[in-house]
Amino acid sequence: MESLTNKRKLIESKPLNFLERAYLPAIAQGLAITMKHFFRKPVTISYPEEKREYSENFRGMHSLKRDENGKERCTACGLCALSCPAEAITMIAAERQKGEEHLYREEKYAAVYEINMLRCIFCGLCEEACPKEAIYLDGPHVPSDYLRKDFIYGKDKLVEAPLNQ
């Protein structure tokens, strides 16, 4: 049958000659190859001690950003929670009181902001939905833990450290 493309290759299997049938040269060849690998540098990165660099567009742990004056950007509009396909984000909004202007940029802020890291699929939709540029997935990946409740990250883990520190 005529082949439709010219990509088809006919493979001829020639009968093995004596040296090939004797296996031993092939085995010696194989042993030489493995021996070459024996002295090669291991490619392993031993994780907790050495860390591999993340790529630029890596989406890892979330962080809630502060503005240039060190105020929290988040205004608890809930768009991130709405956009989240995994329903991992919950928040409770609160009104900014007098004297808290240096803490929160907007008049409304998130008193509680929780992300369930077991639900999160790190799609980055919250990042895109945020009108205040408050949330970014720019952290490292989420470390392992023993209990499920420890994967619900509150503001203590999510909010960026203050600027002056």
Partner: protein, 343 residues
């Protein structure tokens, strides 16, 4: 035989037993480490510096695992299987000469537990008993994978024992003795038997791989077809015994190969070294050389394991019966002609 002799023998037995267990233990570590190096990895490195406590961690884990005896298994034979496997693995070291005799004061200590005049045949007998551990364990598990593994082990061991025996016969024609001590002494300096019996050595090492169930002949425990082979149903230290027996067998067969073909404790220039170090220290250097050879062979076992894929069962049988046995017989004939006409 005085009390001193008995004490010396006893101490020697304990030392050799301990050494073979420790070597088997650290062979598991070496295997993992060497496998890692061959695959551009690091290998176990968490337990202790460079992971050297890994065997202890593995052993502790084995001891603490739940002991499971299948409902329909025959309990006595189920326990007898691994016990027999490790017993036959351990008693092989009794006739191997680890070095020349040491003289300390009036005591002469031969570095060999016993020198019986049928030493090779003893080793051979112990090896042929080794298959019982696998067979009994595999049958007693009452599991078809185990049974198939046991049957494979039995037929493979019997097939390769024949060519192993034939390759040893050619060696015996050269040495003219069955005692391992005499064979080791005959290879003084660099007159190693491998120079006179290269084909015999090749046959022997192939058969040794098959007898110890190492890759490429590890069909009795072939994971892709038989789950775990004969030790599918085993858990806890009984599984540990099977795995341990394999490493002890590897150690013993390396020692046998080093003694029979690679000169045992002999090395070039040993007379000069012996004359300069005295009768107490000198033989120990020979023992160190012996162990170096043994370690090289163990390394070779592992090197081959991480290089060559497993044989198919028909290929295994073809190799054993259609290639190795005729080759071994041809080797005997050529050796006979060489002894009659040239030597």
């Amino acid at each position: 035989m005085g009390v001193a002799d008995i004490v010396i023998k006893f101490v020697l037995i304990v030392i050799i037993f301990a050494i073979s267990l420790v070597i088997a233990m650290y062979s598991t570590y070496a295997e993992r480490k060497i496998a890692a190096f061959f695959q551009d990895r690091v290998g176990p490195n968490r337990a202790g510096p460079w992971g050297i406590l890994q065997p202890l961690a593995d052993g502790g884990k084995m001891f603490l695992k739940e002991e499971i005896i299948p409902t329909n298994a025959s309990p006595f034979l189920f326990i007898a299987g691994p016990s027999l496997a490790i017993l036959t693995a351990c008693i092989g070291s009794a006739v191997i000469p680890w070095g020349q005799q040491i003289t300390i004061g009036k005591y002469v200590i031969p570095l060999q537990v016993t020198d019986i005049n049928v030493g090779i045949l003893y080793i051979f007998g112990v090896v042929s008993l080794g298959v019982y551990g696998v067979m009994i364990g595999g049958w007693a598990s009452n599991n078809k994978y185990s049974l198939l593994g046991a049957i494979r082990a039995a037929s493979q061991n019997i097939s390769y024992e024949i060519s192993m025996g034939l390759s040893i016969i050619a060696l015996l024609m050269v040495t003219g003795t069955l005692s391992l001590k005499e064979i080791a002494e005959q290879q003084h300096g660099w007159h190693w038997n491998v120079l006179y019996q290269p084909v015999g050595f090749l046959l022997f090492i192939i058969c040794a791989f098959a007898e110890t169930n190492r890759t490429p002949f590890d069909l009795p425990e072939c994971e892709t077809e038989l789950v775990g082979g004969y030790h599918t149903e085993y858990s806890s230290m009984k599984l540990g015994f099977y795995l341990f027996a394999e490493y002890i067998n590897m150690f013993i067969s390396s020692a046998v190969m080093a003694t029979l073909y690679w000169g045992g404790y002999n090395y070039p220039g040993m007379d000069w070294v012996l004359a300069h170090t005295g009768p107490a220290i000198g033989p120990l250097i020979g023992t160190a050389v012996m162990f170096a050879k043994v370690f090289l062979f163990i390394f070779f076992f592992m090197w081959v394991r991480w290089t060559i894929p497993r044989f198919r069962y028909d290929q295994l049988m073809d190799l054993g019966w259609k290639i190795l046995i005729p080759l071994a017989i041809a080797n005997i004939i050529v050796t006979g002609l060489w002894i009659t006409f040239i030597k």
